[in-house]
């Protein structure tokens, strides 16, 4: 079942209204300026996701799951815009609205994993966890964190380096800071000191934020 974009927007609003705002129903006309016999509304009813009573939309159990996933996609898209693409404000919000509809058929799982299974959107609202989030939690994969999150004495594996400065990246790689290498943080103050193999390096906080490590 693939819903139209408008239908997705409606079920999203309905879910938020019912699940988060504590409402019982959504008034399509007041909330979105839609007549109750609009095509998108009828589409939702046809798919048995909502029930239409007296012109008001009520969510059905099947609709709960669909709504949850739409909200999840929307908030994942927000995270992606903010954290990775660095698009903020009006422009970012517009892009989010277009982008969320593309996050179907497993794309959401990939994005969610790439963002390391975020739990909240940039506005602080919870992102409903997906199957991938449960799996990650279960397998004990605490994910990838910047080196600054490590405690001294903690060991892990370098996941990736994220820096705009390609020279710095090359320098780090030449020093042996390469994905897949084991890394041991030996001290976190006043500078970060870590070991890769038998070599020891000191870096400042700014650089430690750019080295991402996988806990083990």
């Amino acid at each position: 079942m693939k819903l139209s974009e408008l239908a997705e927007d409606i079920i999203e609003r309905l879910w938020i209204e019912v699940e988060e705002e504590g409402g019982a129903f959504l008034d399509p006309e007041a909330a979105m300026g839609l007549k109750s016999d609009a095509e998108a509304v009828r589409e939702l009813a046809r798919n048995a996701l909502v029930e239409l009573r007296n012109g008001m939309l009520y969510i059905r159990p099947e609709g709960r799951e669909a709504g949850r996933m739409t909200v999840r996609r929307h908030r994942l898209a927000e995270r992606l815009m903010m954290d990775v693409l660095n698009l903020r404000g009006e422009a970012g919000e517009q892009k989010v609205c277009q982008f969320e509809h593309l996050l179907t058929e497993g794309v959401d799982i990939k994005i969610c994993t790439m963002l390391n299974h975020p739990t909240t959107c940039p506005h602080g609202k919870p992102i409903p966890p997906g199957e991938c989030c449960y799996q990650a939690r279960q397998s004990g994969d605490l994910g990838v964190v910047p080196l600054t999150e490590f405690k001294s004495g903690q060991e892990g594996e370098i996941a990736y380096i994220q820096t705009d400065d390609s020279k710095k990246m090359q320098k780090l790689m030449a020093m042996g800071v390469l994905p897949g290498n084991r890394i041991l943080l030996t001290q976190a103050f006043p500078s970060y000191i870590f070991k890769v193999g038998f070599s020891e390096f000191a870096i400042d906080t700014a650089l430690a934020r750019e080295i991402f490590v996988r806990k083990r």
Binding site: K168, M173, T186, Q187, P190, S191, I193, E200, D204
Partner: protein, 658 residues
């Protein structure tokens, strides 16, 4: 691979061997072991990077040995690395000794791979075997030799282990029959081929290596290729741009990962790592030095014993007393004065040579009697500390604080060196990453860091004024902090990130320390002694032409402004020629009873802050240009006299120090 240079070299009698490798793998120790004492150290043309050269005879054949600066990869980033590669490119060594640390074999082999790939005549020296074995690592170097198909020698240069084998490997080096090719993934090979198929020129490095460097965006190699390929260069650049764009996300990473994989396979079975390894003495000591709780007290202890007791008490006290007080004042000066006066009776010439400001009685006496013992003890202390591997640890300890002054922890090395000779330290600020950092460090060196010569005299001078030394030290620290903080806020730009490898801590080798001290002394003397002579001549001219009297009168208002007698102007004028001349001038005034405790303190503070000596100013001009150096000059003068004024007002008002 090209061999255009080899015919010339074979016909000549001298062959060349270059030592390359990461920093801190024992290259210099190997270099010293190979060459013995006939060594020249010089700056590589157009850079501040030092390159040592020496010679060795093996089986009747004379070899020039070149010790290159440390490099991490053939794709160069720092100035040191560029020089190292320039040497490989331009000097066409017959043998390249790649020295690496056995403990980090796997990581450092990446560069071996790059050197071999470049078609260079590589001999691999796996150094520091003794320490690696003590950690429980086991090596099968024969297996590594077979896999890499190049000579591999295990060595421990600190014990001269492996030296004979290395000499034999140099003498008996046979270039391979067919160039060795490192093969990568099909994708990368396709990219390499796309570039190499367009290349026709002949180079010192192989086409494959050059292609990879081009793809990594190496601008110097791009320049080189442009020069060699002529019309074909456009097509190459286009191909490179195309691939670089296609793989823009991850070319460096992909290449590094492929190389890492090749190395991982090559060292399988070569190194056995023990499950549990013991912590060595050095590692334990290292942990103590980097932990702020123990590191700061250790730092203070080091400074107290090293700078205060050894350089201050012993160098500037005991040694100077003996050299200057006994040797010069008692024996040499009376003798030379009589001698000169016996030869000539012409007064100006007598004055020039042995007068109050005479070239011999003042210039040489200062240079040899006062400065030599102080800088010798300082450089000895500095070189000793350098060889233990302590400086990088000090750098990480102070990085957070230095960030407030817009500097990174790296700047700690010029700063500490500044306590020895600010002129040399100003030159060393080149090693800092950004121009902004260099300017900030130069300013702080010019203002608030007293050099050892000055330090010695000022400590001796102010130790007679109770509380004077504390006020002086407090003022220096205050100005360092305030000016550093404010300058960092005002000067636009960002502080670069801090990253540094921590070499293992080890006991320094005496011979190495002495060689380093000697080279630094040599530099100092060649640069400084002529300046002393020039300064003496200028002072002499000033005296016989009465120019000084005029200048002293002109400075009278300034002296009054900060509450000093007019005679103090002499010290400030001298101070410009040498900061320590100035301090020594104060010493004279004090012995004549012209300064009380308050005036002495104010004068010492102002003089330390005031203009760096001529040599340092010239170095500033050379390194930073007229605009910046004159700016610093003006700022420093303003701050020095301004501080002198305020301090004097404060001391008068509070009636401290009488």
């Amino acid at each position: 691979m090209s061999t255009t240079g080899s015919e010339q070299q074979q016909s000549g009698t001298v062959r060349r061997v270059a030592l390359v490798g990461n920093p801190n793998v024992g290259k210099s120790v190997l270099f010293n072991a190979l060459t013995g004492s006939y060594v020249t150290v010089s700056n590589y043309p157009g850079t501040s990077v030092e390159v040592s050269r020496g010679t060795v005879r093996i089986d009747g054949q004379s070899w020039e040995v070149i010790d290159t600066p440390g490099m991490y990869a053939i794709h160069t980033i720092t100035e040191e690395e560029r020089v190292a590669r320039e040497i490989l490119l331009n000097e066409r060594p017959d043998v390249v000794l790649h020295v690496l640390d056995a403990r980090n074999l796997e990581r450092m082999l990446t560069m071996t791979l790059q050197l071999v790939e470049a078609g260079l005549p590589v001999v691999l020296v796996v150094n520091i075997m003794d320490e690696a074995e003590r950690m429980g690592l086991q090596f099968d170097l024969e297996l590594l030799r077979q896999r890499l198909n190049i000579p591999v020698i295990g060595a421990a240069m600190a014990r001269k282990r492996g030296l004979a084998e290395i000499q034999q490997a140099i003498a008996g080096y046979q270039p391979p029959q067919t160039p060795r090719v490192i093969s990568y993934s099909r994708l990368l090979e396709g990219d390499i081929h796309a570039v190499t198929s367009l290349m026709t020129g002949s180079y010192q490095l192989s086409h494959r290596a050059l292609a990879l460097l081009l793809l990594q965006g190496d601008e110097e190699v791009a320049e080189l290729v442009r020069g060699c390929e002529g019309a074909g260069a456009v097509a190459i650049e286009q191909a490179v741009r195309g691939i670089a764009f296609e793989r823009r996300e991850s070319f460096h990473l992909d290449l590094s990962m492929e190389r890492k994989e090749i190395i991982r396979k090559a060292v399988q079975g070569v190194v056995q790592v023990p499950a549990n390894r013991r912590e060595t003495m050095g590692e334990r000591l290292s942990r103590l030095t980097v932990n702020p709780l123990t590191g700061v007290p250790l730092l203070l202890l080091t400074l107290y014993f090293g700078l205060y007791r050894f350089v201050g008490d012993f160098g500037a006290g005991t040694l100077v007393d003996f050299m200057e007080g006994t040797l010069f004042e008692k024996y040499f000066n009376p003798w030379i004065t009589d001698l000169v006066k016996g030869i000539t009776s012409w007064w100006p010439l007598q004055e020039l040579l042995v007068g109050e400001y005479g070239v011999i009685t003042l210039g040489v006496r200062y240079a040899v009697g006062i400065i030599l013992p102080i800088v010798a003890t300082f450089f000895l202390f500095f070189s000793l500390l350098e060889d233990t591997g302590y400086f990088p640890r000090l750098a990480l300890l102070v990085d957070r604080i230095f960030k407030r002054f817009g500097l990174t922890g790296r700047a700690v090395i010029p700063m500490v060196l500044g306590f020895g000779c600010s002129t040399m330290a100003t030159m060393v600020t080149r090693t800092l990453e950004t121009v902004r950092e260099r300017i900030l460090a130069t300013l702080l060196l010019a203002l608030a860091i007293p050099c050892s010569a000055q330090l010695g005299v000022i400590i001796a001078l102010l130790s007679k004024v109770p509380g004077g030394l504390a006020i002086w030290a407090g003022m220096m620290t205050l100005l360092f902090l305030v000016v550093g903080f404010v300058a960092a806020k005002l000067l636009p730009g960002e502080t670069p990130m801090f990253y540094m490898e921590l070499p293992p801590m080890r006991l320094p080798q005496l011979s190495n320390v002495l060689t380093k001290t000697y080279t630094r002394m040599q530099w100092y003397f060649l640069e400084i002694l002529p300046l002393f002579v020039v300064a003496s001549v200028l002072l002499w001219l000033g005296k016989i032409t009465n120019f000084f009297e005029t200048l002293v009168s002109a400075m009278n208002p300034v002296m009054q402004f900060i509450g000093l007698p007019r005679e103090a102007a002499v010290a400030f004028i001298f101070g410009f020629f040498r900061r320590d001349y100035g301090a020594a001038g104060l010493y004279d005034l004090q012995t004549k009873g012209l300064l009380d405790g308050r005036q002495l303190t104010v004068a010492a503070v102002t003089l330390t802050l005031f203009i760096p000596c001529v040599a340092q100013f010239l170095m500033m001009k050379k390194e930073r240009g007229w605009q910046v150096s004159l700016g610093i000059f003006g700022l420093v003068s303003l701050l020095a006299f301004g501080t002198g004024y305020l301090l004097n007002q404060f001391l008068v008002a509070t009636r401290w120090l009488g």
